[in-house]
Symmetry: D3
Subunit: 337 residues, 6 copies
């Protein structure tokens, strides 16, 4: 059974329960998440042995985060203790036309983002990991974290492992001229990556590619093969999302492998908790690949995993393989063909 | 005013609040229900004097169950105390495409299911009851409980009372070859019953009847009159349910009496809590019959009662006659003709 | 910056959380509201300095109400302390076809409704207020409160201020022959008012006007100009609401000024908390007028403010000007043209 | 088995959970209580058939009150529906040196306090009741309620039943010169009463008796026999309470019957919820008398019942006879001799 | 670092929050515990690698239990999935003189208690475990479980591991003539045990030993050395508990090793949650022994661990070694010498 | 009426409800506090007009903080909006011998601690403030904040206002050699201060003074007059606290003015929430001085205010003058003379 690692920050999510705002309420529910956490937990639910590579403070908050990760089924042997803080964000739920709000506290001062360059034993970890997951959010943090990412990716690759990289570009984290600042870092990661999560916007905006097409799908079909060829990527995958007038969402997944595009049905569904659903899609793609599903099966599985993740409380996907198969089979009435 | 009894187990419902799973949460809301509880409470809300015939343990849990039944307006004079446990089930709410989950604890060891054959004073109860309700779930428990059911039904019938029987076949309770195991018990109950809740699937699967029709309504129209005639049933009634792509449900009620079918409109509505809504329909049929409504009025009332029960927290219907009349009148815009 | 006052009662809202009824639950959430409270808070969120003119008891409940008003950003210098009680209402949420329920406690004995005629320093307040808001609910209370209303309106008008009056006729408060009882009081307020919130039903039923038209919009277009002319009103505004089969609401706002009608788009949206949304519309109209928006901008702003108020917990609107602009811009897909 | 009635108002208790104040919190827990409710529920837990004679509104609040009373095991056949409101009080818990606070809403407008003089069928009720309980709080309400009390007491007495009367004088309810206003009403009730709950303060302040003694116990021993003789009372009983520096309470019960005083031990205990504990003592006295306990047993049972009631959430005693016997036996170490 | 195993059932604890009873409340908090769970978690907090050997059902409840154990830091590799149920108990908190109440559901039907004799791979587990913990509660279940216990104990002992056995005799589990039924099973376990938790009552009642002494400590000093010698036990340890009039508890630990008794100070403390505190003491003894503390250090550490466990929510101890050292140092003022 | 200002940071307090730890729970209650917040709110409750001078971010968290401050009755006109974060701390309650835990997030990056030197309009504020409060915690932050403090203190003093300074030295904030780093800053503040909160430890450790006395009171009596004389201080005041074996606290206040020491009684009390109680004492001293109480009255009032603040939920004192007078009168039984 392949052993999977994810490198990334653990965030504390502080959510106002129900539909009150931070000004109205006096209560919060908290949990711990992050892109790596979500992917490791989701793949753990699928039966893989998953570890997080991260740093947490030696405080009550760090203890609580560790306990939460263990509860999610994540192995914590590669989590260092040190530094002082955990990155946090407040979440106020929206309702109907009123959008939800996310407010961050200072994550740059977190234990993860202040860990020393050599605080992880890259070589030793790389030996015990068959697949490693990275996310573009981490790439936005600071130079040391970027170096940690690249070194770990290189070591895993050198060791014969598979590198998964999710573009996940967040404009607010890169600031002004963000695309320009980000490009070289993304390019370095692409050189190392085997499986890449992206859609047509990523080559357009981050890699600076061009297209004459105006339709999203046409752009995708033109640009993704170019990226894949240029960087020697094995699999590219991603989603198109559409928010409907009745507050439901529609999602279509794609997977590009060996010169062929496969698309999932366009799934239409109600949304309980949107955050982390991209990580569910990623996990579905990795799982399908590790289990040897056909590309068509894989992208359908990943899209269903993402759909189900919208119905689960919290950022972190919770569905088993069986539950995803069941929703692929039963909810056929819900699918727009 | 007719006095109504219901014979059945009291279950403790342990519901995870909101949309978390049992693994995610640490809190439960509890209540007490059961098919007999639901029917007795619903008919009590309509103004009848309703008693439950059951057994509860002499423990804190039994005390809590009794207090809850009293709160629902159910008379508890025929509830024995003894045995050790209350049957329980956990309920995790679904959301959208994610289905809810019910997980049972051992109900076969409950006070109700371990009560001695002669623990109820059948003759005395039969004298004070004009209408008695039974449910097919109880029939699935064990031989002693089945004997208790049949004896009480026979005594009420002998005393001139009305016997209501709801098929309510649950495959998981009968196990392998369940239909075969169940048939003779259902047949015995049908011999004793005046009002029977069923649809076309019951004669097809449990009674082993046959039809050439493939449409559900055509099957119903063919099979129900046969059952009614064969067993000398006064009234047969039931529903067809359809779950729509937007998670709303549609429900159509039928009532067959004196060789005539009456159908309610097809009602379309959002669902808050689905469990126990069949009991609301049964209560509406019994109430309409006791109050002398026309069959058309009765089936419309019962369907509206079932629809409203989907919007109420908990298993147990809570609507008054006036509230049901109001929704029959006001929600006309919602009805698909 | 204009200083705004609102004259009215503070009510305590006692809401059963979730979808349980008062019989099922054992918990309440409480807040404080009222038409004047809602308008003052909403205009305060838009940046105006807003005061409530009211009376609260010198008790823990009065203290809690004051603290809550301050939290809402309302200035409390014109709130007297005295009397004994706060008017209260219980709110049980509906779900789907099951309607919500409001149950009042005795508000006629409240501090506000028992305050002596001269308990407010009308002249002093009028000097410090540029715009004053009144609501027809207050007009239904008793003679002393009506006199207080009219005196304050007259003093503000005499001082060059603007008088806003919202018809807000509540049949249950006026009792039998309510329209007849109410007419002269409404007429007196109209004589004093500059901005009036109403739709075609108000002239028809309260003022006893007639129309041959049967369509609501045609009635509106015929009757509003007549009222405006007869009473020398500067601006009339109001809404038409429609409740759809899928429990969404649709709302269209109108504004009539200088002989011209302006209408908002018909907005369609999901509803979280309906109470107080009319006050959000009023606040939008007053704000647009104070800021010099065009009538078209004003009515669109007010309708969007009302729509957003349906998505916010509690009676009291919470949106900033920026949030309303954002929903006017972003939710264009949701709008039915 | 004796059938017991209690005549009195049902109050809604609105308690701020934990130790926050009404200004700090936004949540309330509610329950229903009242002196008659507490006595009926406590005696019901001891196995008697207990009814409340009262009036509740035909509203959601009235429904919730009825359901709550049923849950407490109280028979509701003599509860009329009518009027508009339920009396309410807010409860903010104290902590240590910070005292708790009770804030009433208007109870004079409640359904109970506005019921017509002849709204109860006194003669019919008196025939079905062996023991009837009244409380001095009810005596403070208004003339009609006082007449209802006296008529019901007279009818029960005439029918051979036992009248229990608890002085329970509340200064805030009688206002200025309260003792003078109250005296004649208390004297009338004493003429009708068989069992009277009081201590030395009641004859001193309400009945205007005199004593040279300064010690409380000496006063009690002098005054109670005088009252008992003068009004032909069968049993007098009551408590002395002391609040200790460590926030524990001490309680000593007395019972005077057939010219003999019996005293309980002085019980010392921690307090969770003080309200309603006097009603627990009353219930213990009535129960001991009905069961034929010796006076010494009765007063010890009543004192233990009162002690236990301090440890139970809510106003209403919850202990069974067995639980009281157990605490009488086990907590002997806690007793100060 | 020694690897520790604990063999035992996982119980679901369903606790009514606050001080309400099951009849009063409608909410429960749940967690998972058991003697083995508590010991494994406590020793895990001290830095050891701890596993539970048990069986859980393949249901939502089993999933939730597993997630909870992982959160506690327990390794779950030796937990089988199978059977149908989890043993459960309800906990109603007491207050002051009102005792708490525990109500069990049927644990004999649990997955653990119905697992097949050979369902655990004893030899393989024994190889990977240095210390194994058993508890007398498990011994009370049924013959198959007893055989599983003894086989696992024998295999660990044969492999050179240490066997810890806690008498923990529960009269309610053994029924009539329980001591006689239990004796031979306890004797078999003592033959296999290295570290035994007991006090003087265990040899007296279970092993049928005799003493002329009447003082508890004198009995202890006479009987424990006899047991130790007879069964070749390395260490015996246990506690004396005293419940004080002010609801505080006092605890004195003893440890007997190499013919010497060591006693802790008598610790006096307030109690938040009493359940599981004996397991904290056991864990302290095992930890002291594994770390090579002096017997005096060990018993003081274990007693402080037990004291701290009374202050922690839930059954399962939560203190780190550092926190126990801190309370040993700081709370010296609280100690009665 | 004197206008009072307080300069300081607003902290968000995130408290785990009940007695669970951050690892065990999933819920937090939040509120906003800080030394200046507490003093401004407490003096506001005494009837003064109180403002906070601070900086909050323009985010949902900043909005929530502002709303909370308004609810506390604090004027917010001098609160700037800017920067990005609010300082936060987690609070886990202790129980009995288990101590509570406070875990900070990064406060140095807060809006308050990153505000530009000239972001406050010192001169304008100083003109409108009669009394200004500062706290030693603020002095520990950074150079710019220290300069802001000193400039505002100087401007208020120059304008004839009163400067209150509370030593409040926190070792963890000053780090290694903290006393040496802090001394000159404290000395500068003392030069500007009129009323100083301190006890004997402050001159000993921070100012480096010496004494031959070993008793705390003797040290206090020797050192405080020296400090007062050296820096020209009008009033010095402070407390001695003692934590008793039964978890109660004892507190004695002192006040030194015009060469005379006054002491309060030693108050003994149970503690609900210890944080912020020193600010209650400060507020009592300032209020007594502003109202012209005698020094003996002032110190007794301040000690009672501090005692009451231990019984109130949250950091911020909530008592009115009347409530403090009441506890000074009623709790006399609790006082150790």
């Amino acid at each position: 059974m392949p052993r999977i690692g994810a490198f990334g920050e653990v965030m504390m999510r502080l959510q106002v329960p129900g539909y009150e705002t931070l000004s109205q309420s006096s209560r919060l529910n908290y949990s711990f998440s992050g892109s790596g956490v979500n992917v490791a937990a989701a793949l753990g639910r699928f039966g893989h042995e998953c570890s997080l590579i991260s740093t947490l403070p030696d405080s009550s908050v760090g203890e609580a985060a560790l306990a939460y990760l263990r509860k999610l089924g994540i192995h914590t042997a590669y989590i260092n203790r040190g530094g002082r803080y955990v990155g946090m964000y407040f979440l106020e739920n929206g309702f109907g036309v009123r959008p939800g709000k996310v407010t961050y506290t200072d994550r740059l001062g977190s234990s993860f983002n202040t860990a020393a360059l050599q605080s992880y034993n890259y070589a030793a970890i790389a030996e015990k990991i068959d697949v490693i997951h990275f996310c573009g959010i981490t790439l936005a943090m600071n130079d040391i974290v970027r170096k940690q990412m690249k070194q770990l990716a290189a070591d895993v690759k050198a060791n014969g492992g598979t590198v998964v990289f999710d573009f996940n570009y967040r404009p607010s984290l890169w600031g002004e001229n963000g695309y320009a600042k980000a490009r070289s870092h993304y390019e370095e990661m692409l050189q190392l990556a085997d499986i890449v999560m992206m859609n047509e916007k990523d080559p357009l905006f981050i890699l600076g590619m061009r297209t004459e097409e105006s339709d999203r799908v046409a752009q995708l079909k033109q640009l993704i093969p170019q990226v894949v060829q240029q960087y020697g990527i094995r699999i590219a995958a991603g989603t198109h999302r559409q928010i409907n007038a009745d507050n439901t969402h529609s999602l279509t997944g794609y997977l590009y492998k060996e010169d062929v595009f496969e698309f999932s049905d366009k799934l239409n569904f109600s949304v309980y908790d949107r955050i982390g659903t991209g990580d569910a899609f990623t996990s579905g793609i990795v799982h399908g690949e590790l289990k040897g599903y056909s590309p068509q099966q894989t992208v359908r599985f990943a899209a269903a995993a993402a759909m189900l993740a919208h119905t689960v409380a919290g950022d972190t996907p919770d569905a088993t393989e069986m539950e995803i198969f069941q929703v692929m089979r039963d909810s056929i009435g819900d699918v727009e063909r």
